[in-house]
Point group: none
């Protein structure tokens, strides 16, 4: 197989497309070896430099992994869906958030009742800035996630920036108040969708929700923010990779 001369894509992108397609079709099965850079260079009639640029792209998509001396192996048959969260660091949470639109529906200061206090931590009667909104994928009117964030009133000043600046709320807290987040606790649950949420997310009444709740704590272990994200289960999966210390 050769590259298509009348294509106006860059060469390396054509190589990416060709290899991605072949991986998806099973020509190079998961766990199998890709041809060496030299072989690919010869086959596509491009320089090794161009092949390496293509492989760099595939690696950054998580499709293949290369090891010096051992070649390049296929890690996955296709790129993870856009709804998949890949978590290796908290940074990945932000990048994920950056790619989708966030629309704030309500923003108000509330006092926690007993149920909420138990749910997010803190004491009954404590005041929180509650920000509720929906997240949308580009060019799609169906929301992919419902988000309710509770911000400690000490940091309520972030309220006017949320939805404007395209950064995570915890980053706003760090920027505005200089208070560093030291620890994030993440809890995952699943349940049948409550009626009110089904309406907002345009789901069937018997749909399943995955809830990802993140509690952000400062170095003093004070809760700065609690973010509750509700995803339709059929459009969500959470992936994380754990590497052994070397």
């Amino acid at each position: 197989m050769r590259l298509n001369p009348p294509s106006f894509k860059p060469l390396y992108q054509q190589v990416v497309d060709a290899l991605r397609d072949e991986i998806l079709r099973g020509k190079y099965p998961v766990g199998g070896q890709l041809p060496t850079e030299g072989e690919l260079s010869e086959r596509f009639s491009v320089s090794r430099h161009t092949v390496r640029e293509a492989l760099r792209n595939l690696r950054s998509d998580g499709l293949v992994s290369s090891r010096q001396g051992a070649g390049t192996t296929v890690a996955r048959p296709s790129a993870p869906s856009t709804y998949v969260q890949e978590i290796e660091s908290i940074n990945d949470l932000i990048q994920y958030a950056a790619s989708i639109r966030y629309k704030v529906d309500r923003s108000e200061v509330i006092a926690a009742d007993a149920a909420l206090a138990a749910s997010i931590g803190g004491i009954s009667g404590q005041k929180w800035l509650r920000i509720e909104g929906l997240r949308y994928e580009d060019n799609n009117n169906k929301p992919v996630c419902r988000t309710v964030v509770y911000v400690h009133t000490d940091f309520a000043g972030v309220g006017r920036l949320v939805g404007r600046r395209n950064s995570a709320i915890y980053e706003l807290i760090e920027d505005l108040y200089g208070e560093k987040i030291a620890e994030v606790e993440q809890v995952i649950n699943a349940y049948r969708v409550p009626e009110v949420v089904a309406a907002e997310l345009a789901l069937e009444p018997d749909a399943v929700i995955v809830e990802v709740r993140r509690t952000y704590r400062t170095v003093a272990r004070k809760i700065a923010e609690v973010a509750v994200n509700q995803y339709p289960a059929d459009r969500f999966s959470l992936a994380m990779k754990l590497r052994r210390r070397t």
Copy 2:
């Protein structure tokens, strides 16, 4: 400023370190311009190729962003917060497993059909040792989890030890074969319980399942084992703590 000759790091990494440090110290403020590739090349006395490799690294960390014709601008003042999974070793993943009984129901070598191959990775027709079982809490006859493990046939010898020795399957693989697990990928999904699983777990037909799938890979990125755990959602939540690296 020049690079340090007695350093044993790759040149491009030294450039990364130098620029990262300068960005952090405010020499190049957020929103400001980095010197051009040509200038950096001259200043560090390295080729433009090496400078580009360094900038590629900074870009992938989200510190800078480049636009053709317009130069490279600083996007963030510091490396995006490096949080790490508090899970110290992969071992902590299955720590909970020790406290609950595991009963193997079936253990057999199977050939993966297309669906299974797509699901766990690997190619259609590939042979796997399939171990199916249920987990019980102490003093409770209702199972808390259904587990299906697929072990690469290279490590099929672990089959006779599973359920006898009270250790994780991946540990058995390491012990018996000396093959080290380097990486574990964990994927979480939720869905309505399939009929056959509902029966095994004694669940209502409309119950919700949380599935935690772990793929264990060797240093060569070969899949050694895939473990699929299915929990009733109402009895399950997954918590993890991410802590900022100091």
